[in-house]
Structure formats: structure tokens, C-alpha cells
Symmetry: C3
Subunit: 669 residues, 3 copies
């Protein structure tokens, strides 16, 4: 079921809708306000399991029937949820074996959501049954545009450590490895003599003395993703027996580390994502852009849906800052610019009860005499003006390598330095490119890279031999590759590739590393030439085909290469042996060394980008549409633009002026 | 049994006495020294259960008989304890089901005190039995002045999570709500579909995925208080069957957050309290004053007893600083000034064994050739001079609203900002008033407020509709009310009051709040006019009857109201929408904005206070007695004082000079 | 079996060797490289249990036979390990009762080493059996030089809290105390009425309400050491039935707090030790020297073996810094200087698998074209040049008192200040003496002290009456004693010695302490005279025979003694009542007050030390050999040296010049 058929036309606009928390008179006001705001889709029933199945096998769809009917009569489509992220209280009590057990063996308490084991047979049965019931009842209802299975798989129960999970894990290992000798070889269990005599001997990881087998941990992470996927597949198939509407589940890219969304990618009919700003972070609009680009990658470049974000503050951060004027609009349109065909919120109406009552909403506690409501109405009009954007695609010349398995592996126990964090380097390179106005795709290291002028691998610690060959072929065929330190170190089971570091990348980079020299906390090293300063890492690079572009000027590797370039076949492979920064930090320390480093790399690779624009202007092309988002405090005039503005004024004489904090969207003539 | 009949006359003076830790020859020295110091009351037997009931049902009162006899013959009265805070080792072993279970399901280990479940039937039986045995034996002994039941209820076992507790909780809920639909409605369980089908389905809260039902947590806190109260009542009734002496138990106001002492207030014959300084806190004499005022409130204005404080360092803080010269005396007399008719210490003689051996005592390890002992003797003489103070009452014109339920609710998961702490605002307002030399009462929000000129509600996040009506009536009838931000937000089960914030207080304040704007960590906003700076909070206030007194000059609400005043009926209601400070912080940041704000409020309300005195002078009137405590480094001359000094010199020509660090007490002529 | 008979001659050189992780072709390369580097001893089989006993009672020694044969044919001796630190996976599964249980009752997960209970009968049987099997097979193999039992006892399983441990603890208590009344008296259980009715009632300590009996905790620590010792003894005796080669186990002095190595000292035929630098610590060469001196003390002054250290970075610290040029060599030779007859590394060849793959090795991942390998070869040559050093002894004039029981007791709950840390003061005094070029021995407080000119007791919080008498006799007989604050406070069960502090040392010091005055966080007090500044502690010293040498100039004890001296019999006892520092801290705060204080003490005691040398030069005399290690950045010329240089140049005209970062070793003519 290709593409995005959820709605007849235009950008989807709406939010999570929980009418069960309100008396019926509020429902009528809700529908009136939805129409006022231009809402055309709501996500319904995400947390109503306890209400529609009040006791095991007893169903009550009366309220849901009425709500769907009301929405239908108002022309509002429904993204109908299965409520399986929050099993009813009776489920937990009747099936105590289904309760989530944490890594130290504690059974978690009730009174919240997500407290179930993803490998529980009782959960499998109950969740499939309720999904089937809903599909049978509403599967061909004209108001039902699509299905929203579950909610945020793995949010709080990514891994369970109960007996059922252990049994399922052993079965999964048997399937993966066939025989225990293969497992022993793959995991390197000669280390500490931890050889398994049979699959029956394998226990899940958990709180153990330091040094637990890292391969065991990695495979438990892989297994756990598969268990959640199996939960999803069961519900999806139960739905498909009764309904031909597309099925999705809302991802949390990139803020749910345990979920390997590359594995989820092919399973949904349309990719949807939840994204929330980290309020304490000054550059959270850049993190948002990265999230959107990564979501588009998971969607294989197809349009996707922003399923949740917020009109203002969330409720689960230490200090839940509200959004500043214009920020919600810029956030929403940035997602659209980067491929979303939907702008959905958690939540339609602010709740009075429970844990999320201080989370913002489209209808706040304050009601409609409020800036939030006026912005919601305004955004509805913006999206209507952008309906033609739907279905168009973003194209990029640069790709960043992202692999959840490398994310997990790099952050296991006992790496060379705690400052080695997967996202640290990814975000540094992403930010440098963002500030250069270069739109990027994210790619799995096994992906076809031939369409890209430049591929950047900032955090490819775990890299299989196959993936390394893929990068090698890419460069030999004329590609440009940029690799950051501590990449290509281990294989799929966290074994060091044989020989000197970086085992998987020595050939393509034309060098090897004699010794790592992690820096002390807050330590820096200077590079030769003007000003550049590295953090976190230094190492002794030995050239074997590559040539030094920059060298360390201070520190343990002073006089030795810091940045290298290797001509290989028709292409070029660059290597950077320390952490350069894309922008000064909050204290004004370090500079934009990474941007300075990237400029010649981009030039050599022939990556186009506009010149002369401030690095607070976000500029993204989606199909025929150019999005200009001004995150700065002053208006910005952009020249050489032809076409018609869908949002904003102009262009006049080829120039579009984007007001401070504003957005312009121009359709190519 | 009204009032305070523990002793025939004068201020009670003494401490916890643990002779069982010492050989008999030390007892005689103890009694000699008690007489030297003027000790007239000792708390006896608090931790001797394992000694007087060495095996289940086997009793040995010989040592206790001899001790009581010895004290009696020396004219020292006994505050006889039931030893139930530290069950014997055999109890724990014979009744393993009685062991405390923590929130993650761990059974706590032995070898300490308080390791029992307050809902344990075995504990109920054993504790009642030993209390009855003691009462039967000593209930009419002439040395026994009163009963000291248990020790610091809830100190380490405020909540238990065992099966017996769960069962008791369900019974308590049945009693409170009658039927499960009422519970569901009260708790808002439509949220996340967490509807209960029956009371049997309710589990206690515990370690769960984030977002556990806050109403469940609140009610478990309420339930837990009731369980401890039931323990107390059982012992009290066992005693009353044999003894007519007053019964107390030592509270820990305000430093035992889980104990709602409003609920305990009516249960004891005389309120007693333990208070310890936080050594790291420069203003701990102000915290002491607050504790004493709150204790007096729990005692309904009646005299109360300071049951424990310290002569010097405690042993359980990170760095246990000793008291400075004069500090112990000022501490003791401040408690008397604010209503205590007793000055008791933990402990009489410093222990050689176990966990508290580095806690100070009246007789330190160093013995009597020590400053501590000389101060103890001096204090005995001071208290003898103040015997006439006994029974007199403190009267206040200003009340501060304090509600433990609001304390709990405000600090549950997922509030708008972690900087919202119940005591933060209470202490800010208390300190501002203290520095203005204004004595305050604390009140429950349901209390009769008619006697006060001004009522201040700094942290009334949880406020029932009834309580809001009470405040409304108070203002309409001519009262002055001052409310701080984030008050009146939720009802008794943490549901947001309907409509715009602050739902319970919109009418009385004449305003509503459009959106909260918590500030980033360490963020500030300026107010218009000279110098004022707010922390933690800003919000968009919309006037609806009130008028703006001050406005924000910077931040997300620049140009909008920050302080408002509403004329309502015969009274006035003020509102403050940010955190102003009563004094500069340790780094000299922020000023005394809160004092500047309060001055016109106090003036308008007609609250009297002396002028021209330094804000390090504590000045309290108790009945006919004026207490002047100089916490500063220079002598202070106070004019306009008539009467006779009981402590200190003067007055001469109407002026009393209080030496640096000294105390004067003047009885009105 | 006296002395150190592991090798026929010379200094042992080599490392942990794990050929089971590599294919056989690598073994041949290993042996070739070992010969190139001068390796003469390898530790073999430390973690191969799962490979040599792949199922319970099934043995496979084929690989081990071949390896030992290969090493033997190359003339490399074997330090043959019992593999009992890492039981096989099958053991854990077949004997679930053997699993380690932590203090909160959690059974730890598998997949790591050390996950067993030291009191487990199943472990006792299995570990003894495999040790016996190995000894029977290889006990008289000519390549086997010695036995390496287990690995780092107590590293992660120092204490277990399972039922078997509880039972063993009760048996141990019965043995120690005979009857429960004796236990009650020793533990001071009258405190909180925690009297035991029988040994059966005793539970191990664990997570409990604050204030758990400290004597219970102390005795559980003692018991736990004995349980590990019993594990060792069982294996040792199983070996001795078949082999006459010396038996050792590798200690972790001083970085394994739970292991009381004084108790282990007499149990091994030769003391061996593992030592790793704390990379974040600028002065880690001083910590290394302390570790070596303490190891020598545990070896009763006999030569010992450095069994593990690293060629470069480790893998388990937050930031695993590599060693700087020359550092590995200086580290190695410093151990030899201070008594080691071996320089062994973890590990021979860097592993590709599991938790330690980023730990440095003699053969790094980079192979032999590396600085590390060149340094390894160079060190082999150095050690060959030093073969005559073997067997010689270090003599010291100064002793520092070290007692693991005091270490434990001082850091239990509820001491006067969290800044009171056992090693803090030990290290301060050690560093001051090191910088004065004074070599020290460590001694147990019960040891014969008569050979020392000066004994320093910086952290003798726990000091028995017997030990105090020992110190008293030492001083009376002419010794010089220097004691730091908070020493001599409690007896063996953490009961305060009767009377004023410091109960055990009042007489010898000629003073008593009226009150402790711990300082606030980061607080300081000045001493009279030039510049000195104390941290952490002040107290009111009362003289009773001693005289004040320095006084406090500020703080709570201004004007009272800070440093005292007591002439007693033929000797002198000094006392220091605050924390003086041996060198400025990283921020340049505080100075070298402790060195200034020590100078007159050393002079008076007649302790010789060289003059005019920088305090970065380490100078140690071992038998006829003078070791000079230059930790500074400039060459140092040392005059007055006669003899022949074994390492380095000279002496020329009595002067040896040690290059920056270099080492010289001179044999006395």
C-alpha cells in the first residue's frame, strides 16, 4: 500500500482526541472548534481500552460509535487507534505474568501505561483481539481514514527481563544462530571462558558485575525490537482482515534509542513520527530538522506524517518552557518542508486528569481567548494554503550514516571514553551542514549511496564488513566519503575487526591508527593552521596511502595527522581524528572549525549551497516548493527566487524577504 | 484532657535518657548532674523494647523499675515512652510478614529501627500489648508525668508496599469512596483508560513507568498517614485503660513531609515536636522560627513541648557542624518564645554505641569540663527564670496557609517546573515577614481566618472548592489575601479545576492565566520600577476585575501584569506571578524584593510591626512576655519597652539593649 | 615456602596470556614475540574454566597441554592459574543457589565474571575440584614456575547477601563470640534495643532504614574477607597435594577496600599485586609508590611480584588516557625500586572480544610497528640489566599506620563529616613524605614499631586498646609518633572509647578533645604563623601534658591548639588537629603546609633525607641499588652518588644526571 492515502487531499491537520475524558456537551464544542481551526483528522481512542473493554471479553462501543458519528457528520476524518499501549487494569490483574520486569528483576507497579512485557502471550492474545474487534466494527466506516496502532512502541518497556522474555530470547537466538557453537564464535565467548553449552544456558542480560558480554547486550537489544515488531505485526494483520485503510504506528525518531526504526521502516503503510523539542536546548530547531530528515529516511524518502508535536510546553521535562511567539508555526512548517504531509498535535484539548494535564494542547485550559488558540487557527489557514505541497519529495546531495546498532554498541560499558556518544558527532556534523544550508538524507551503512555527492559517517563505531565494502565501492566509483574517528572499529557482535584500528575502514581511508589518545575531561588539542581546536579525542594516525591535510599542533599527537584525505579509484575518502565543533558553545568556547573543515570537502564533492545567507535561516527545497524559515531576530532578504509565494510576500524582483521569526514558501514558476 | 499538665509547674527541661546503655554506677552520676543542671523531666525508654520484652511475651521490668525509682527519689519526672519505634530483633524474625517493603518491592534489612510495616497485624498486636503492659505497671506511678508514644512516626517507614498494606489500602478506599465508580470519577481514571473495575483491582503505587496516576499516589499518602495514626491510637487507648497522664508522640514539624500533622493535631493531649537545624543553612534560625510557629498551629495555639533538639552537632547530616557560642541558648529560647513550654534534648548523655554516637548531648563524651555542659547548666537557670511564661499564648495578625496535601501534590511527577517546590515559596514569604518582625500563625486553608488582618497563600497548588470559598468569604468580609503563583490549580485528587488557571481562585483574585511561562534554569525576569527581579516563574495574567500593580519588564510576559490587586467586597486580594526573594542569596544576587512588595500590603492590612530594627533581631511577644533574640554580631538597642527583664538587663529608660548573640526577655509591667 | 622462587633467576617479565581467544597460528607468533621482548613468565589460564571443563565433570586439557608445551619449548615459564574467578555458564545454571545476591536482595545476572557467592558450597566443591585437576596434571610440569589462584578476590563479589551467606555468617559469629551475650556486649546492642536473643536471629546487613548497627556491618566485612580466604585456602591445599610450586593470588592493593590484605598476608607463598593508575589524577605516580610500599608491607618486607599493570590505557575508567612517553617504563621501574621482583602486565595481546578489548596490551591491536611494542622490548632489556636487584630489600625509617578495619569503620554511615575519608589523610601524609624523598613502610597498628624513627598515624579512627598500648610503648621507648585528628576514637566494634576523645590516645598524646568542629563544605581555618591553612576539621583541643606548637588563628577554635607535642618517656608524640595539605591543589589553593609541619618532626626524629632535590624526583634505595626516577620536565643532577649505573649514564665525579622523564639505577660500589 504505497504512499500516503490517509486523507482525500491536502495536509492533514489535527491531534490526539480523548473525548472519553469529557462530558458529551464538550464533544459538540470540540467539533465546532475543529472546524473553526481547519482540523481534518483526529487520532482517536489511543488510551480507551479500559473503557471499550471494561472487563475481559466484555465490550462497550457505544461512546465510540457516537463520537465517530459526530466527527463524520462534521467532515472530520478519524485516525483510529488500537488502545494497546495502555492495557486495562483488569488485564494486569488477571495476567500477572504479563507485567514488565526491569533489568534488576523488579516487577513494575501499575497505575501507568506501558507496564507490560512485549513477549507476553497473554498480551499478544488480548491486544490482537481488541485490534480485531475495532477493525471488524469500524474497518470500513467512511470516517476512518487510517489506523494508529498502539502508541510509541518501546517508550517505557523497550526491554523486559521476565521468564517469558528469556524463553523468547532463547528461541530468537536459536533462529538467528542455528547452533550454539555459531553463537559462541559470534559473541567471542572465549573471553572470560563464558562459552555456552546450549541455548538453554543463555540468560538475558541484567544487573551484573561489570564487564557483561557486550554481544549479549547487543543481541538482547535486537531481540527486543523484534518482540515489539511482532506485537505490531499481530495487530496490523488483525486489522487487515477487516479493513483496507493504511496502518501506521507513531515512531519517536530520534529520541527512542532502543527502537531500531530501520527495522520498522518497511512494516507501516505510512511512516508517522512524534517529535518534541528539548526546551533547555538553544538549537532545538536544528535537532527538529535532523529528526524530520531522519524520519524521511525511515520513510524511504516518501512523505510521512508528523503525528504528534506540541503547541507549547510539554509536561515531562525538568522545566517545561512554553514556545515563543512564532515558534510553533516554524516548527510545524519545518516538518512539512522536510517531508511531512501532516501536522498533528498531542493533544486536541488539555486534560484535567492524570499525568499529562500540564501538557499544552490545541485548546488550552485557558480556552479560545488565547494566543495558542489563535496560532492554531492561523496554522490551519497556512496548511490549507500549502495543500499543493502534499506528495512532493525532498532531494539531497549529502547523506549522513545513521545506524541504531552503532548507537547501542558505542554506548555500552567500557569504551575508551565516556565522551564518545553516538549523537554527539552526528549532531555536530548535522549542525555544520544545516548552518551551511545543505539538506541531508540519512542512510543505513548498507544502503545504495550512489545518488549522493558526499557521504558522512560521524559515528560508525559498529560497521560490518559488508557495510565497509559498500563504502569502499562508493568511493572507488567516484563518491566522496568523510569519516570521523572511532568508526569502523567493531563488527555486528562488538568484536574488534582484526588488525590495527579502524579495521573495517583502513583500506578506504588509507591509514591505520597506532594508539587512541582520549582527552581528559574538558581537554582540547590545537590543530595546525588558524585557530582550530579539537575536543574529546586525539589518536596516532599512521598514513598508508592517505595524505595529511591538517596536523595536531598540541597534545599527545602533536606533529601527526589530524585530518587526512585519500584518493581511491574515482573518489576521495576524508578522515577527521578529533572532535571539531560546528559553532561556539554557550560560553563562546570553540568556534566553527567543523564548518571550516567541511567547506573544501563540500566544494570538492560539488555540493551546491547558497552563499551569503545567515546561518539562522533554514532553507529547504521540497519538490517545486522552497521553504524559507527565519530563526533569527532580523529579517532576511534572499535573492534569486522565482515563483509565487504561498506563504509570505513576494518574490519581488527575485527577492523574498523573510521577516524575523517568519516563514516564506515559494512555489517554483 | 486540655492544656499541658505534664509537670506541676515551670518550663520542662531535660532530654532523652537511655540508661540501659550504661552500667548502674553511671545512673547515679546522671541523676546528680540532672539536678545540677535543673533538669526536671526525662524521656525514658524510647528504645528499650528488646530489653523489657527480651523474648515474645517474656518481660523484664527490673531495670526500668530501678531507674524510675531513682529518678523519682531525685524529684525528676518521667516522660515514659512506649518503645515501639524499634521492635525487638525477635519480632522481626518471628513475624517476617511485618517487615517494611519499599516502593520497588524490596524487603528492608534489619539491624535498624522503623523497619516494620505500619499496617502489619502482628505489629499492631505486639505494640499494643507492650504499651498496655507499661501502662499497667507505671500508669499511676507518681514520677510518671506523661506518655511518649513511639518515636517520630513515619521517619523511615512512612509508606510500606507489602501485601498487607495493599489490602489495607483497598479497605481504606472502600471506606472513603463507597463504590468504585466514585473512585474512578474522583481520580480521573478515564486518563489512559486506567479505570478500575472493582476495589480489588487497586494496587498500591510503586516504581512504575513514568506518569503513574497522581491521584493514586496522593491517596496512598493519605492512607499511609491514617495507618500510622491507627498505630498511635491503639497504643494511646491501651495506655488510657491504665493511666490518666497525658499522651503525646513527638512530631517532626516541618521536616517529615509524609506526615500530615493537621490530621494528627487532635489526637495528642499535648503537641510535642523534634527540631534540628540544617547546619549548612545560614538562616537556620529563621527555619527554626517557622518550625515553631507551625508546631504552635498544629497545637491550635496552645502551648506545646519542644521534645528534641540538640546541644550541638547532629550525626546524620553530611557535615555535622557544632553550634556556635550562644546558638543553643538562642535556639532554645526561640522555641519558648513561640509557644513551647519545654526545652528537651536528644540526648541526655552521648552514647558510645551504634548509629548516634556522634550526636551531641547534654553530657558530651568530654564530660562536664566542657562548654556544652556549662551552657546546659546556664540554660537550666534561664528556664527557671522564665517559669512564669508557661501557659501564655502567642497571638498573630498574619496567617500563612500550609497544607501537607498541597505539599505532596505540588511535588509529584510532571509539574510545569522542578523549581516549583512547596517550601520554597512558603519559606520566602515566611522569611520576608520574619525580617519585618511580623509573627505569623500557620493555618489550614479550611480554617476560620476571621481573626487575621492578612492571609498569605504562597503554595496552595492543591486547593479544594470549599477552601477557595473560605478564602473568598474571608476577603469579602474585609480580609486581605495575598496569593502566589501556581495556587488554586487542582482539586483534592489533583484534577485541574475546570476552566482557565487558577480555577479555584479566579474569582477572588479577579484574573485568569492564559499560559504558564516557567523560566529556564537560573533564569530571571525584571519587573518594572526599581530593581525587582523574579525567578522560576512568569505567566500571562489576564485581568478580570483586578488591576496591575507591577508589570513584567522583560521575559515572555513583558508588559503584562506581574503583581495585581483586586478589591472584593470589603477586602483586597493580591496576586504575585513570579518568585521574588526576601533577601540576597549567598552570591549577593537578587535583593529584598519580596519585603518591598510586602510593605504596602502590610500597611494596607493594618499589620503592626516595629520600625528601625535590624532584620537580624528576632522579636516575639508571648502573652505578657517580650522575647528579643539578637542573631547579629552587634548589640541592638530597642526603645519603648516597659516592664522587667527576666533575662538580660534593663529596660533602662524604656530601652533594652540586647547584646550580640544574646537574648532578653521582658515581662510587661 | 619463603622468599620468591618463581623463576630461576632475574626479574620476572611478562603478562596475562589468553591464547584460547586466538587461533593456533597466532600462538606461534606470540612465542616468537615473547622471546623478542625478553618475556620469561606468563600467567596462563586465568579465565579458561568454561573451556577446560566444558560441562560439569567433563574435562578437555588438549589445548592447554599444547600451549604449555609450546611455551616450555621456548624457555618461557608458566604462572599457571586456576580459572575460578569466572565460573562456567553451566555452573551458574546447574547451581542457581550459588549466584551472588546484592545488598538489596537482587540476584545478579550472568554473562560476566565474579557472579558467585563466596560462601556457596557448590562453588567450594567445583572450584576445589578444578584446582585439583589442574595441579594433578601440571603440578610438576617443568614449565610451571608457580600457581596463580583465582583472579582478584573480592573484585565484584566482596559481600554476598544470600541465604547461604547468612548461615555462614551466623556460624562465623558463633565461632568469634561463643555466646550471644558476648556479641551483644561487643556490638553495643542496647542501642535502639537491638539485642539478639540467639545467633539464629542475626541477619546480614543490607538496605535498611538509616542507622543500621555499625558493628554488624563491620563484622560482616570481616566475615566476608574470611569467606574469600577460605575459598583461596581450599584451592591452595588442593594444589599442594600435587605440586610444590609456590602459590599466589593477585591482590589489588590499595584499590580493593573490602579486602583486608593484612589477613591475606601470611596465606600466599609470594605476595603479588595488580596496580592501575587513575588516569585523571595528576599525581598518580605518587599513588603508585604508595601502592608499592603497601604491597611490600603486606609481603612483610620480602620481595613481591607486580602481577598486573598496563602498558597504556585501561578500559574501565571514564576516560581511559594512554600513558605518556616514558611513563610505562617509569611505572615499571618504580615498582621494582619499591620491592617488586616482577613486572607483569595485563595483558600479553589485546583481545578482540568482550569487555576488555580496549585495554592496552604488550602486543596492541596495532601490532609491533608501534611505540607500545618498542617500549615493551626496551623494558625487557632494562629488566635484564637489573637482574641483580632481585631479592634485595628496601629499608625505611618511617612507618605509616594502615588498617583496613579503620578504613571500613571510618566510612560507615553517620560520621561527623563526609569529608573524613580514610585515604584522604593517608595520602596527604604519604605525599608529603614522598616529596621529602622519605621512603616509608606501612604497618598495622599492632606491629613491632621499634625499628622506626617515626611512626605516622593519619587515619587511625578505629584503634583497639591493645594497639593504643603498642603506640604508647613505642613512644615511651623513644619513638616519635605523629597522629592526625579523628584517630583513636572507637574500638574494634565501632564503640567510642570511654571518656573524652580520643579515648585510645589521650595518654600518649597528652591531651583530650572537648568538641569536634567539622568545617562546612570547602571551609578553611587559618593557623597562626605564616600562611598555613587547614581544611575539613577543627576541634577544641585541651592540653593535658602536651604543649601547643601551633594554634588556630581563625574558625571555631581560634586561639586554641592546632598542633601539639607531648614528651613522653624517651619519645615524643605529635598531634595535628586539622587537615594540612602536602601541595597546592589544582586551582593553586592551599600550599605545602604539611611539608612545613613535617620538617621539624623529621628533624627531631633524626630521619635522613637528601637536600636540594626537586620534589618531582623519586629516589629510593633498594639494597645496594639506588633508583632515581625523574617525573619532571627537566633533567636533574644528583650529587654524591658512588657506584656503577645499571640504567642511565654515570656517575661522573659522583654526579648522576637523570634526564627529564628518565630513570637511573646505580649499584653501590
Amino acid at each position: 500500500m504505497p504512499g500516503y492515502p490517509a486523507l482525500p487531499e491536502g495536509i492533514a491537520y489535527g491531534g490526539d482526541y480523548n473525548p472519553e475524558q469529557w462530558p458529551q456537551e464538550v464533544w459538540h464544542e470540540d467539533v465546532r472548534l475543529m472546524r473553526e481551526a481547519g482540523v481534518n483528522l483526529v487520532s482517536l481512542g489511543i488510551f480507551n481500552w479500559g473503557l471499550i473493554e471494561p472487563a475481559e471479553g466484555v465490550y462497550d462501543f457505544d461512546r465510540l460509535d457516537r463520537i465517530i458519528g459526530l466527527l463524520h457528520s462534521a467532515g472530520i476524518m478519524v485516525n483510529l487507534a488500537t488502545p494497546t499501549a495502555s492495557p486495562p487494569v483488569w488485564f494486569r490483574n488477571r495476567h500477572p505474568g504479563s507485567r514488565l520486569v526491569d533489568a534488576s528483576g523488579r516487577v513494575v507497579a501499575g497505575g501507568s501505561r506501558h507496564g507490560f512485557c512485549p513477549s507476553s502471550p497473554a498480551y499478544a492474545a488480548a491486544s490482537t483481539r481488541i485490534a480485531g474487534k475495532l477493525a471488524a466494527r469500524y474497518g470500513d466506516h467512511p470516517a476512518v481514514a487510517m489506523w494508529h496502532v498502539h502508541n510509541e512502541y518501546g517508550w517505557a518497556n523497550a526491554e523486559c527481563h521476565c521468564r517469558a522474555s528469556a524463553e523468547a530470547f532463547r528461541a530468537w537466538l536459536r533462529e538467528r544462530y542455528g547452533d550454539v557453537d555459531t553463537l559462541n564464535a559470534a559473541w567471542g565467548t572465549t573471553f572470560w571462558g563464558l562459552t555456552y553449552g546450549s541455548f538453554e544456558e543463555v540468560e538475558p542480560p541484567g544487573v551484573a558485575p561489570p564487564g557483561q558480554l557486550t554481544a549479549l547486550r547487543l543481541d538482547y537489544a535486537r531481540f527486543s525490537v523484534e518482540e515489539h515488531l511482532a506485537c505490531f505485526r499481530r495487530e496490523r494483520e488483525a486489522i487487515r482482515r477487516h479493513s483496507d485503510r493504511p496502518v501506521t504506528t507513531n515512531f519517536m525518531i530520534p529520541n527512542c534509542k532502543p527502537m531500531d526504526y530501520w527495522r520498522w521502516a518497511g512494516e507501516v503503510d505510512v511512516v508517522s513520527n512524534d517529535h518534541y523539542l528539548d526546551a533547555a536546548r538553544a538549537d532545538n530547531h536544528i535537532e527538529l530538522a535532523m529528526a524530520a530528515d531522519l524520519t524521511r529516511a525511515v520513510a524511504a524518502g516518501e512523505p510521512w506524517m508528523l503525528m504528534e508535536h506540541s503547541t507549547g510546553a510539554v509536561n515531562w521535562q525538568p522545566r517545561n518552557l512554553a514556545k515563543r511567539p512564532g515558534e510553533m508555526r516554524r516548527n510545524s512548517l519545518a516538518h512539512v518542508a522536510r517531508g511531512s504531509d501532516a501536522v498533528m498535535f498531542f493533544q486536541w484539548r488539555a486534560s484535567r486528569h492524570g499525568a499529562e494535564k500540564f501538557h499544552s494542547a490545541m485548546v488550552p485550559h485557558a480556552g479560545t481567548d488565547s494566543g495558542v488558540w489563535r496560532d492554531v487557527v492561523g496554522l490551519g489557514a497556512d496548511l490549507a494554503a500549502l495543500s499543493g505541497v502534499r506528495g512532493s519529495r525532498v532531494e539531497a546531495e549529502v547523506a549522513l550514516v545513521w545506524d541504531w546498532e552503532s548507537y547501542w554498541a558505542l554506548e555500552l560499558e567500557w569504551r575508551p571514553s565516556v565522551d564518545l556518544r553516538f549523537r554527539e558527532r552526528i549532531e555536530a556534523y548535522y549542525e555544520a551542514l544545516w548552518r551551511e544550508h545543505v539538506t541531508v538524507d540519512f542512510v543505513h551503512p548498507d544502503a545504495d549511496l550512489s545518488r549522493y555527492r558526499l557521504v558522512v559517517a560521524p559515528s560508525s563505531y559498529l560497521l560490518t564488513g559488508e557495510a565497509a565494502k559498500n563504502l569502499h565501492r562508493y568511493v572507488e566509483s567516484g563518491g566522496h566519503l568523510l569519516v570521523s574517528y572511532f568508526s569502523g572499529i567493531v563488527d555486528a557482535c562488538d568484536n574488534v575487526h582484526p588488525g590495527p584500528y579502524p579495521g573495517a575502514l583502513r583500506d578506504v581511508l588509507g591509514l591505520w591508527v597506532e594508539e587512541f589518545h582520549p582527552l581528559p575531561e574538558n581537554g582540547t588539542v590545537a590543530l595546525d593552521g588558524p585557530g582550530a581546536s579539537g575536543r574529546i579525542w586525539s589518536e596516532r594516525v599512521r598514513l598508508a596511502g592517505a595524505r595529511a591535510v591538517r596536523s595536531f599542533a598540541t597534545g599527545p599527537d602533536a606533529g601527526h595527522p589530524a585530518v587526512t584525505r585519500h584518493e581511491l579509484g574515482a573518489g576521495t575518502a576524508w578522515y577527521v581524528a578529533t572532535a571539531l565543533d560546528p559553532a561556539p558553545d554557550a560560553a563562546g568556547r570553540n568556534g566553527d572549525d567543523l564548518r571550516a573543515l567541511l567547506a573544501p570537502v563540500l566544494d570538492r564533492a560539488g555540493v551546491s549551497r547558497p552563499a551569503g545567507l545567515p546561518d539562522t535561516l533554514e532553507l529547504v527545497r521540497r519538490g517545486a516548493f522552497l521553504f524559507l524559515l527565519n530563526h533569527g531576530d532580523a529579517p532576511v532578504a534572499v535573492e534569486g527566487i522565482e515563483g509565487a509565494a504561498l506563504l509570505g510576500a513576494g518574490p519581488a524582483a527575485g527577492t523574498v524577504t523573510v521577516p524575523a521569526g517568519g516563514v516564506a514558501v515559494v512555489e517554483r514558476a
